[in-house]
Amino acid sequence: MPIEVYRIDDRLVHGQVVVGWGQPLALGFIVLVDDQVAESAWEQDLYRMGVPPEMAVHFESVAGALSRLPAYRLLPDPGLLLAGSTAAMRALVEGDPDIRHVNVGGLHHRAGRSPRLRFVFLDAAEEADLRAMRARGVEVSAQDVPGAVPVPLDDLLTRSGG
């Protein structure tokens, strides 16, 4: 089965991912890509507890994900890839031509970021990352849960919080 969703979300594993997307897509696994979490056992313990026992979670660095993505795509259940930052997703897109869609699921308030949607705040570097992904032909849109209307990148970058 393919990886159904490639999602950027700074909360990584949370309810919108596990229940909001997990239930309708009947997700069997999550690939969590974050260099820091990939090296931190206690954080992995924490994230693992947010995922239902019947759903597998694989922790990967960006480099690890790039080498193992083809294998994950061969797993029998549908999966979701989660990256905590635009930079990590950009690196994945640049290293793996099979990523065609990127879902901006949640980047929250932090100093230096400007509001774009209620669940998307971006700084200049993050905007550049998203544009670079689109320049490679990847469809980038913001959408928190499956029932919401996706907001295309061009539209997203002209918004100011609404």
Binding site: H14, G15, Q16, V19, G20, G22, Q23, P24, A26, E54, G106, R118, F119, D144, V145, A148
Partner: protein, 232 residues
């Protein structure tokens, strides 16, 4: 027309259930089953409020409040629906004919209520922004002010939304009471009931479908329910 005392009590009820939804204490008093039934009781027709509450609860099974995504606010809208359904001195047939309108009004009202929550959150943000320096310095009184302002404004918001809904919908009900004679009570109940139970059924399916063997659990429930229906 509605007595001012009744309107006041409905407004207070709406404020309490509206506050309960997100801010305090999230005891699910805001669910349609509770809010509409209590509103029916306030208006002197608990059975009609309960009927509206049950139908709306089936619809509400589908909208779970996940994270920061947008979702309908059932409390004030359900209070208004309970009040609309509880026609003073009405027989069951009149209540039945009024139910599709009450349910429809509550569904629309829940979306409007949800939008007012978005405004509340934007307002809360503006309050927090006013105290930004104090919050950054760890000033406890700023934290308290931000918190209490949010709670008080939410209470007022929910009360105002409820009062507006009731004031708009009860006169609309009066205007409709004569005009809905063309449709029978049984047909109105059948349509509202089938839609509510259908939507509720699909909502439950979505939640349980990831459980192994869920069809057997649903079937066991159906069998038990059917047996109860025959025996009772």
């Amino acid at each position: 027309m509605m007595e001012p005392g009744t309107l006041l009590m409905l407004t207070a009820l709406g404020a309490i259930v509206g506050l309960d939804f997100v801010s305090f204490p999230q005891a699910m008093l805001s669910r349609p089953l509770v809010a509409a039934t209590l509103a029916g009781a306030v208006c002197g027709n608990t059975a009609a409020g309960l009927l509206a509450g049950v139908l709306l609860e089936c619809f509400a099974l589908e909208t779970m409040p996940f994270g920061a995504s947008r979702y309908p606010e059932w409390g004030p809208a359900s209070v208004a629906a309970g009040a609309v359904a509880a026609v003073p001195g009405a027989d069951l047939d009149t209540t039945a004919r009024m139910l599709p309108f009450a349910v429809l009004a509550a569904l629309a009202g829940s979306m409007i209520g949800g939008q007012t929550l978005v405004w509340l959150r934007q307002f809360n943000l503006s309050v927090a922004a006013r105290y930004r320096d104090e919050l950054a310095a760890g000033d406890a009184s700023a934290v308290r002010s931000v918190q209490w302002t949010g709670l008080v404004i939410d209470f007022g918001r929910a009360g105002a939304v409820t009062a507006i809904f009731v004031l708009a919908l009860v006169p609309a009900r009066e205007a409709l009471l004569g005009g809905l004679n063309a449709v029978s009570g049984p047909l109105s109940l059948a349509v509202a009931g089938v839609l509510a139970v259908g939507v509720g059924g699909s909502a439950v399916w979505k939640v349980v479908r990831s459980v192994k063997g869920y069809r057997w659990y649903l079937a066991a429930g159906l069998a038990a329910g059917s047996a109860a229906a025959v025996l009772l």
